[in-house]
């Protein structure tokens, strides 16, 4: 079976898309296809790889719009998925490109520093007694320690695509949760503060990171866990946290969201007033009617108890 590769090239400021033709062998990975092009057709093509076994994270590229670990994914899988014999290969999205498929990790490493990525051991630990941790405590962050820094999660991140200055790449949140959830950590408060400042609440919850992570680490889920921790550490004085809390409280107040009050609760009266033109537009089309009282769920007492009992149970688990 033949295939076409359309590879996005970038060399010394010049950009173009170059076509290559290849015979697909059974079990051929995207990385093997790239290697064959480089060895037999075009030695100038640049890409990175190392372990060839989904461990080092060096080989991620974007294929037909979606990030893939090129040493892991089979050409045939993608041809079948996209029903095509043409694969378009680009460097990962939301990275600065150095050359062809090679991207610059330095700015990303610099953002990891923003979250103070070290653990200061709790005071009760010492050189003599060590830093003890139970298997249950270890299990709380074990998953997040498995990040291979491949960058797949940021490639199609919808928030990162718009502005990375006020946001962290998804894998940095994974790293952060790994540190915050570690029972040996003396000051998760410090890290959480830094994470809130660095953009925790600006995540769109688009789930692209979770969809793309080849290790199944669920960065979007790590973000939710971090948010939960910010409430436990009373770091919830910001618009994102207030909005989430307003929605959460509505469940106990009436059972459903009271849209006419949500913005006021989240942003405060003044910001909400600045949205008045919007509100007028919505009232005109009948989308919003503050005169309509918000109905209360007849089973509200049970619902409140469910929320309260769940809160008590989660405290207990801590």
């Amino acid at each position: 079976m033949d295939m076409n590769l359309k590879i996005h090239r970038f060399v010394e400021g010049k950009k173009w898309v170059q076509d290559y033709k290849l015979t697909v062998k059974t079990g051929m990975t995207v990385l093997e296809a790239l290697t064959e092009v480089k060895e037999k057709q075009d030695p100038t093509l640049s890409f990175t790889c190392s372990c060839r076994s989904s461990i080092c994270g060096a080989c991620a590229v974007r294929v037909n719009g979606n990030a893939e670990l090129s040493c892991e994914v089979l050409v045939e899988t993608l041809m079948k998925r996209y029903k095509t014999d043409t694969l378009v290969i680009e460097p990962l999205g939301n990275f600065k490109v150095i050359r062809d498929l090679v991207v610059d990790w330095d700015p990303k490493y610099a953002t990891i520093k923003k979250i103070k990525p070290v653990i200061e051991p709790k005071k009760e630990f010492s050189l003599e007694t060590g830093c003890k941790q139970s298997p249950e405590e270890f299990n709380k962050f074990k998953k997040y320690a498995k990040c291979i820094l491949c960058g797949s999660c940021v490639s199609e991140c919808n928030k990162s695509a718009l502005n990375q200055e006020d946001f962290l790449s998804p894998f940095v949140f994974v790293k952060a949760e790994r540190l915050v959830a570690d029972s040996r950590n003396r000051s998760p408060q410090e890290q959480l503060k830094a994470i809130v400042e660095a953009g925790l609440w600006r995540c769109f919850n688009c789930q692209e990171c979770t969809a793309k992570c080849p290790k199944g680490l669920d960065p979007a889920g790590a973000i939710e866990k971090l948010k939960e921790s910010t409430f436990a550490h009373k770091l919830d004085d910001n618009v994102g946290a207030r909005h989430a809390k307003a929605i959460y409280d509505d469940i106990s107040d009436s059972g459903t969201l009271d849209e006419s009050k949500l913005n006021i609760k989240s942003e405060g009266l003044i910001m909400a007033a600045l949205r008045a033109p919007m509100a007028v537009r919505l009232m005109r089309t009948g989308k919003m009617n503050p005169m309509n009282g918000h109905p209360v769920n007849p089973e509200i007492e049970t619902i409140r108890k469910i929320v309260k009992n769940a809160e008590a149970a989660s405290k207990e688990a801590e």
Partner: protein, 289 residues
């Protein structure tokens, strides 16, 4: 065919037209829907960030009521679908968690336990799985109408919870439905992108930019309308379309339809039937219905 309907909060409020149009369309298609009595908010993808177990328990309650009705659940909102399906997956796969949550429900006086007997599906998936529903019903095929299929995030991702069809990354089921209604799906680069709704307050400028980009991309594809299976995406793209235009310096004005409205038009229902007067954008531009 009958489902327990989980309407979700916005169908009771800002997107009420999505509810009226759904009822009319389901009636025409002989899909029975009975609202889950006393359902609550699914958490709107925010509650789990405040307290995960509470959000889970609340959805276990929602699902358990449908189980008691003996019906599978139909949703019409991407985010509701994801929240309910995540809850279901976690409860079905983790016995200890299920027992913990059932104890919370019982201790709180809720009469039913979560069993895992009801499926959670979306209106769009039902139409895709049952093409026979539309057989002989398309009274006014939408011939020549170009439509941009905007999926939104939560019906596609994460695939392990929201798998539908051969591949979520190359989903074509909404385009297939558009064709079945006689219309023409147009290739449109923002089809799987995020509308930003859930971060509208925390990252306003970025969200308005992406709103503008999506509408502009549909306009460049010459779409007469954008259609979406999610009322949150619909609200974001429709209500904030003017601000989105300003954010990206575009002139594009495109009507943004709820999926059930597009289906309704093809079934011969009118703009008034589908509550189109409640839309903010494209009032003069919509040529169907």
């Amino acid at each position: 065919m009958k489902y327990a309907l989980f309407p979700g909060c916005v169908l009771e409020g800002a997107a009420a037209e999505a509810y009226t149009s759904l009822k009319k369309v389901c009636e025409k298609l002989n899909i029975g829907i009975e609202e889950i009595p006393n359902w609550t908010c699914c958490g709107a993808s925010h509650a789990q960030g405040v307290n995960d177990l509470a959000a889970l328990a609340v959805n276990a309650r929602n699902i358990s009521i449908a189980e008691h009705m003996g019906l599978d659940i139909m949703t019409v909102c991407n985010t509701c679908t994801l929240q309910l399906r995540v809850a279901k997956k976690r409860l079905d796969e983790d016995k200890a968690l299920r027992e913990k949550v059932n104890k919370i429900l019982k201790d709180s006086g809720h009469p039913y336990e979560y069993k895992g007997t009801s499926k959670v599906t979306h209106f769009l998936w039902i139409l895709d799985e049952h093409p026979e529903l539309l057989k002989g019903k398309v009274e006014k095929p939408l011939s020549g109408v170009k439509v941009a299929a905007y999926y939104g995030c939560h019906i596609l991702r994460p695939e392990e919870v929201m798998k539908h069809g051969e591949s979520n990354q190359n989903a074509v089921y909404m385009e297939n439905l558009i064709k079945a209604l006689g219309a023409e799906p147009v290739p449109f680069s923002a089809s799987h992108k995020c509308c930003g709704f859930h971060a509208q307050l925390a990252a306003e400028h970025d969200v308005l930019t992406v709103t503008g980009q999506i509408v502009d991309s549909a306009d460049k594809a010459e779409a007469a309308a954008i259609v979406t299976p999610c009322p949150l995406c619909q609200m974001q793209l429709d209500m904030y379309e003017p601000e989105g235009r300003d954010a990206v310096g575009s002139k594009a004005e495109v009507p943004v339809l709820h999926l059930q409205q597009l289906v309704g038009f093809a079934l011969g229902l009118s703009k008034a039937d589908m509550g189109f007067d409640r839309h903010v954008s494209g009032q003069k531009k919509l040529k169907i219905g």
